[in-house]
Symmetry: C2
Subunit: 566 residues, 2 copies
Amino acid sequence: MTKIVDDPETFASAALAGFSRVYGRYVRLVKGGVVRSTAVPRGKVSVIVGGGSGHYPAFAGYVGPGMADAAVAGEIFASPSTAAVARLCRNANHGGGILLGFGNYAGDVLNFGVAAERLRAEGIDVRIVTVTDDVASAPADRHLQRRGIAGDFVVFKVAGAAAEAGLSIDEVERVTRLANARTFSFGVAFGGCTLPGATEPLFTVPRGMMALGLGIHGEPGIRDTKIVPASDLATLLVETVLAERPAGAHRAAVLLNGLGATKYEELFVLWGAVESKLRAEGIDLVAPEVGEYVTSLDMQGCSLTVMWLDEELERFWLAPCDTPVFRRGAGFKTQPAVLAENAEDAVPTFGPASGAAHESARCLAGLLDAMVSVLGEAEAELGRIDAFAGDGDHGQGMRRGATAARDAIHQAVAGGAGAKSALAAAGDAWADRAGGTSGAIWGLLLRSWSSAFSDEEALQDTDIVRGARLALDDVMRLGGAKPGDKTLVDAFVPFVAALETASADGLSLKEAWRKASVTCEAAAAATAPLSPRLGRARPLAERSIGHPDAGAVSLALIARTIADRL
Amino acid sequence: MTKIVDDPETFASAALAGFSRVYGRYVRLVKGGVVRSTAVPRGKVSVIVGGGSGHYPAFAGYVGPGMADAAVAGEIFASPSTAAVARLCRNANHGGGILLGFGNYAGDVLNFGVAAERLRAEGIDVRIVTVTDDVASAPADRHLQRRGIAGDFVVFKVAGAAAEAGLSIDEVERVTRLANARTFSFGVAFGGCTLPGATEPLFTVPRGMMALGLGIHGEPGIRDTKIVPASDLATLLVETVLAERPAGAHRAAVLLNGLGATKYEELFVLWGAVESKLRAEGIDLVAPEVGEYVTSLDMQGCSLTVMWLDEELERFWLAPCDTPVFRRGAGFKTQPAVLAENAEDAVPTFGPASGAAHESARCLAGLLDAMVSVLGEAEAELGRIDAFAGDGDHGQGMRRGATAARDAIHQAVAGGAGAKSALAAAGDAWADRAGGTSGAIWGLLLRSWSSAFSDEEALQDTDIVRGARLALDDVMRLGGAKPGDKTLVDAFVPFVAALETASADGLSLKEAWRKASVTCEAAAAATAPLSPRLGRARPLAERSIGHPDAGAVSLALIARTIADRL
């Protein structure tokens, strides 16, 4: 249980700051992450990794020559914001392109994905490889839909070595994808971790039992079973991971990873049995590692990872590397980086907007005011609904995001912005300040919607309808959710369809929006009676049956609020 | 809580074996410990460290160029046996003398101390430095009586660097003593660890509280207090450790150590505040370390260690080092050690003994038979008595040790040994197989007693009386217990005195022993009503008030058994 805390709200950033003070010879703190403090050759591909905090040494401990160029760190177990990802990329861009590596979780997919789009628009060649090693999270024929767990470490090691060797961005991406395709992990948990400030663990495992295939944030596992002796546990781990051994594979990088409170002596006891069983299967072990490489605060449990090597992967797995927590070979001769100013976020400046477009922006700001007011009133209720399936922070996140967006749009209006720039600024502020998946979704939604607008002309009803479609498309493409996954998409799809139909039928925007808003509310309510199953984008806890999705409900609420103001 | 276990009895050795399989490039497994697997220059001083298991990376993780030559590993939280210490020393002796380093605990003091005497008798120059950094365990004017906790790491780092630099054994000893004298630690615990096979933790801390100055095996602390925010905890740790800042000291090696389940993010949060406070005190931090360096299984807590540097200590603190868990500088060019056979324990061979001495040995073997029988019957009762003040394993240890001693003496008799060699062999077997402090005491007691005997002549009554005095002297000198500490010494002192007096008064051995045995029983019973206080040699739990010391009781039981057989 986490006991050393000042303010739970700033725990993750305080930990990152403390880390960067200890390891200044490796890293430099940038808001939301760390970059190498040592000089990097111009033109090298940058490997930038990240995800939620609470997994140390993942991900900040991986930064250094031979491995990552930067790490982005979100709040505990929460994706970093789009803005943070973009910020770290700008600070660690050496001109050779950027490979973004992270575990396959909805929030990360979204935030890294949106950041990549923004950076590409700035002319930076950004590639994405999501790590999908957890065999418990999806069947073998859906390898790329699996979660990323301790496989992060071995995949990023290979990516970092390939980049350090001077490979092109195409090649680094190819090698990293190959590493991920050949990496398989399986874990067990004996008990859950406790978040800073919380008094109870995220989950518990019944006494004498262990949970098979549980995720590193408490995601549901396959099943609970009795704790078995170390040698039987070794058999279970080895047999499960080896079930997907590729034909002909016989050399492997192996990682036995502890999750935090399962300690070294236990891991070494287990390793004795694991190593024997792997050798008995005819596997040559190449530089195996046993220890804590991807933790989950003080969670009790461990996982076994196997990366099947070919000549190329083996070379990169064994290549020199020097980071705060992991070192191979004789080290690197490093020079401190020539310290340019941190590339902070661009402060938005607004180009000349026409008076009409500026007036439209002012109208949009009024809508944001209304949203803030409604979301403030609904905060507790949205939290209550969210708690059935999630961690109950939806109301808080929406209120915080909308408030940041409102402040930003008023600032933009004061700066003379037109409708397009003003709404884009509001979206970016929402994404950066709300946190979580819903913050990223709403940031993306507003920014994409704004792309149908203009800074030169007054807002037309048709712009608004076209923007809705663009927003929906981007949310589905980058968020990865499909109708039926019990997300905001379940209400957004019928809303946009109804808006388009009513508009095509010649109704005024106000009438069309009113109709779409009613459709949206009905769809949100209809997310309640879904049967229990795992959604594609996020696990659906059984206890949420009969309760609607909080994201769909808040969308409907906002739609209705706007309908009343148009 | 420890969950990955095959057999709790073999947990520590299985962990050590697993460790040595992962880190074969650094270490080679020898029964009871590990030695460097890389070549070491002839004539280098060997730094050999150790203690109980359960503290990884202490101590096996410290073995490698620039730090330790070998580590001895006892059972979980139990001193390694005298035989194991001696064995590791023989395997890691490079001809320059041996520095033994370990934390200041009764069992370790005894076993390393006795091993050192044996090795000195073999012509090896062995020095001992006990680490005494825990300011909570004794006041400042009794620094050398303090326990060793995380200071082990910094003191051994300096010792290893001094040895690697080619210093003589005198100089390595001097520098190591200096490092210890300038090292101060203070720790807090939030919760206890659970031993392999146990279902409950060794101790608990009330919810919302923390224990100040608790030892790394659950030894009593100073007091419990409410958990405070991280910044207040930093103040507490810094102020306590700095209370003993030497005049003029302003440069320091600093270690913020996690005990196992207090995780990295928490340590980094704490470090931010600790570093600021140390700097505010005008202290220059030299290569501080934050992480897990001396753990206590999955105990929750942390400690702050400061070693005040002078030019020499700073040089050794910063010197290159390359071990499984800790590395400084660019690494070492190492060669595998030329693998001689492991220097195993000498198999005792018995020189020619006279018929009379051989017959005496046979009589002694008969006494051991009787002891085994009596201790077998008394095992449960001795365990029950021990449980009031200790961990309740006294009966088991005595039965196991006596059985090993009996087997050894019969083997010696079958090999033709005389009384002296036969009893010495019995003592060595007892120490090596019983484990714990009582095993070491009894091994020493028999071996010292045997030094009054002969392999040439029949045993005389006067030899037996003289042997008793030699045994008592060695037990007190090496064990460090004084009368009144509530140990076996409380019964042994009056036994020997009574034996000597009665013998001097002209009584036969049988009569004298009978009288001494009655005195011994009374003295053992009198250990019961002691008032609560900390004994010098070991903490006396309050719950033991009114109960006699198990070691004194078992001595009296053995004395009576022998009286019946003489």
